[in-house]
Amino acid sequence: MNKLIRVVDLYKSYYDELTELPVLRGIDLEVKRAETIAIVGTSGVGKSTLLHLLGGLDRPTKGKIFYEGEDIFALNDPELDRFRNEEIGFVFQFHHLLPESTALENVAMPGLIARQKSDVAQHRAKELLDYVGLGERLEHRPSELSGGERQRVAIARALINHPKVVLADEPTGNLDQKTSEAVHDLLWTLNDQFSQTFIIVTHNQTLAQRADRLIQLVDGQVSDQVDSLDF
């Protein structure tokens, strides 16, 4: 029972009136608990699509994804919403914070969506922001934060509901070298401390190398599974 996620023969196509645009063509993948996986590949190869499917944000054309043995696409919409809310934390390239809300409110939001009491969610949000080093910037809005700070807020937000998996879509794709390093360090500290599973889509060589496992997508398929040490 060390397997957390099992992806079986996953297909995803986009349809444009008459033409079918296949993006994923039969992905098979297994992810262990507390593992960090880096997904690499050229632009448009379907990395983000795979991540969205792993997060239950979209439904596949064919194939299944099992979380702890449960087929998530057998869930109905409200169940899938709850699954996303409770089991998944998303970190996006462009941070995707709510522009009108403060850092604290942004981090607390998934808690509110989970119908936690406001003070409970905010308390936890405060702890997490302290943890990622933003304890002094609770009331700042995203526009008042630097790129690295925003991404740390986004990471804190992904963690608030104690998800099993954090899915990160190029978390440092928009940051400079030095800031990226800091964010990477944070991700690894989190992985060490909370044994969180991380699946990270990245172009960043150093980040990919630090992952337990590297998965390369080519033509919508997993081409190679290499140990990161051999990369």
């Binding site: 969205h52 997060g55 944000l57 979209d58 919409d77 409200p78 919403d81 709850r82 699954f83 996303r84 809310n85 409770e86 998944i88 998303f90 996006f92 995707h96 914070l97 709510l98 522009p99 009108e100 809300s101 409110e105 939001m109 998934p110 509110l112 969506i113 989970a114 119908r115 009491k117 406001s118 809005r141 526009s143 937000r157």
Partner: protein, 519 residues
């Protein structure tokens, strides 16, 4: 460029936003569901979205103006028709009882019977007929008028007749009669006194003291059977009747009942019983009771004919009702415009917030949750707008009804200049006023301004016309129907909610992955 300018103008309205924020903040704190949180955030959003926060304020204002307009218009229309009704119910009989046979005897017994019916204040015997009148010294018949033969004491209890005649005590005893008798010196006789309607008197040019000839009927010429001569009686004008209702004052004359009976040679008979009720609204019930209780000579036509004030004034009330409906339709269009405004505001908001919707969906927000965010916004706009409009409308109505002082209306505009100047000064010099202070200053300025603008409307000078004598109302009365106010509020809140349905549905059906990519 356009966006930049909008952003700058948003500085002008921090107090407005502040007010909205205060209300939404407290509500969002009380009900800290995330839908509430996001909905309130969007409504009061600042910075790049300042534009949207301005249009949400405009949406609230639109609804408020619509509601206020409906309340003010309908209340003044209602007040006017109500005021007029009160006026004519005060000097008209509520029910008129007639017999199919015309004149009938033993009327005092029937009057006693009618006065015994529950809800009847008094009943009065009357002879009504149409006569031609010819002022003394005039060559021709000047007019035909309705002459009411009345018993003064009984009539006063039904129509308050004496209240509308100045300087008058009795028909047949007056200094005017004595003077006329002296003038005639026995050459002609005087039958009695007549009280003439004010307008008819002016028209034919008679004043109290003048003698009128009433032509009651034609009789065969004693010498020439082919021709007829009019039967004329001399009456002295002893007073002028001024009820304020033109149709009455231009068509009525009053003489003593006994004199009328002699004039028509109908001793101890009358042709009309007038009835006054405690509550005029009970007219049809009492009228039915009269039809049941009162019988004239047995046989065909024994049941009396009754005419209630509602029946005799039906044309008037129908006209008012129609006017009210037409006005309401027009004003309802204002609310409709406001509702469309809400719909477009929310559609724009959905487009503006597409990425946020994607983020919320990624964090596990359900379709229903997203839908709720936008429906809540429509609801908040509707509720705020309705409450604000009701306060505004009721305040203006209250002011129109509240009779203190008579100030020039432009004072109101002058007062509005105070906060405007303050706003301008604030941009030049640092004044020690914060947004809350400014908000309060604006509120009191608008309130005070309306206090001067919405003064009672006096009818003595409406566009240069004096309407006060036409309607016998010196100012426009206002009558607020609270049922109507509540109904309008519910209606506008419901339509605002309906307006939010489409944008909300659109938002909830966005594909989260595409929404996330939206820039």
């Amino acid at each position: 460029m356009g966006m930049a300018r909008l952003y700058r103008t948003s500085h002008l309205t921090p107090w407005l936003r502040h007010g909205l924020v205060a209300i939404l903040y407290s509500s969002s704190r009380a009900l800290m569901k995330y839908e509430w949180f996001i909905a309130s955030r969007y409504l009061k959003s600042r910075r790049k979205q300042a534009f949207i926060s301005i249009i949400s304020i405009i949406s609230v204002g639109g609804v408020a103006l619509g509601i206020a307009a409906v309340i003010i218009v309908v209340s003044t229309l209602d007040g006017f028709s109500h005021g007029l009704k009160e006026k004519f119910l005060a000097n008209e009989a509520h029910i008129i009882v007639r017999s199919v046979h015309g004149y009938f005897p033993n009327y005092q017994g029937k009057i006693g019977q009618i006065e015994g019916i529950e809800g009847v204040v008094a009943a009065s015997p009357v002879i009504i007929s149409q006569l031609a009148i010819q002022p003394q010294g005039s060559e021709s018949i000047e007019a035909t008028i309705y002459i009411k033969g009345i018993d003064l004491q009984q009539e006063d209890r039904v129509t308050g007749f004496s209240d509308f005649v100045d300087d008058f005590a009795e028909f047949n005893q007056s200094r005017f009669i004595n003077e006329a008798q002296r003038r005639f010196a026995g050459k002609e006789t005087i039958t009695g006194g007549i009280v003439l309607g004010y307008h008819i008197a002016r028209k034919i040019g008679v004043v109290p003291g003048d003698v009128l000839r009433l032509i009651s009927k034609m009789v065969q010429h004693p010498a020439n059977p082919e021709s007829f001569i009019p039967l004329m009686r001399n009456f002295v004008v002893v007073g002028l009747y001024q009820s304020g209702f033109y149709i009455h004052d231009n068509a009525l004359g009053f003489i003593d009942l006994r004199t009328a009976q002699k004039l028509y040679q109908k001793p101890d008979q009358i042709n009309v019983i007038e009835v006054r009720l405690v509550n005029a609204e009970m007219a049809s019930t009492v009228s039915d009771q009269i039809k049941q209780d009162i019988r004239f000579n047995p046989g065909l036509g024994a049941i009396p004919i009754t005419i209630t004030w509602m029946e005799s004034r039906a044309d008037f009330f129908n006209a008012f009702q129609l006017e009210k409906i037409v006005t309401m339709v027009v004003v309802a269009l204002i609310i409709l415009v406001a509702v469309f405004n809400i719909a477009s505001t929310l559609i724009m908001m959905v487009m503006e917030k597409t990425q946020d919707i994607g983020i919320l969906r990624a964090m596990g927000a359900s379709k229903q949750g997203i839908r709720k965010i936008f429906i809540l916004q429509g609801g908040v706009i509707g509720i705020l707008g309705s409450i604000l409009g009701t306060v505004l409308g009721v305040y203006v109505c209250w002011r129109l009804e509240f009779l203190v002082g008579n100030f020039p209306r432009w004072y109101g505009l002058l007062i509005l200049l105070v906060p405007v100047i303050l706003q301008v000064c604030r941009r030049i010099w640092p004044l020690p006023i914060n947004a809350t202070g400014l908000f309060l200053i604006w509120c009191s300025a608008v309130g005070l301004s309306l206090y001067f603008i919405a003064q009672p409307i006096y009818l003595d000078n409406i566009l240069g016309k004096n309407l006060s004598s036409v309607y016998q109302l010196n100012r426009l009365p206002v009558k607020i129907s609270w049922t109507f106010v509540v109904l309008m509020n519910l209606l506008s809140m419901a339509t605002c909610w309906l307006a939010a349905l489409y944008p909300a549905r659109k938002a909830s059906h966005l594909n989260p992955v595409e929404a996330l990519r939206h820039e």
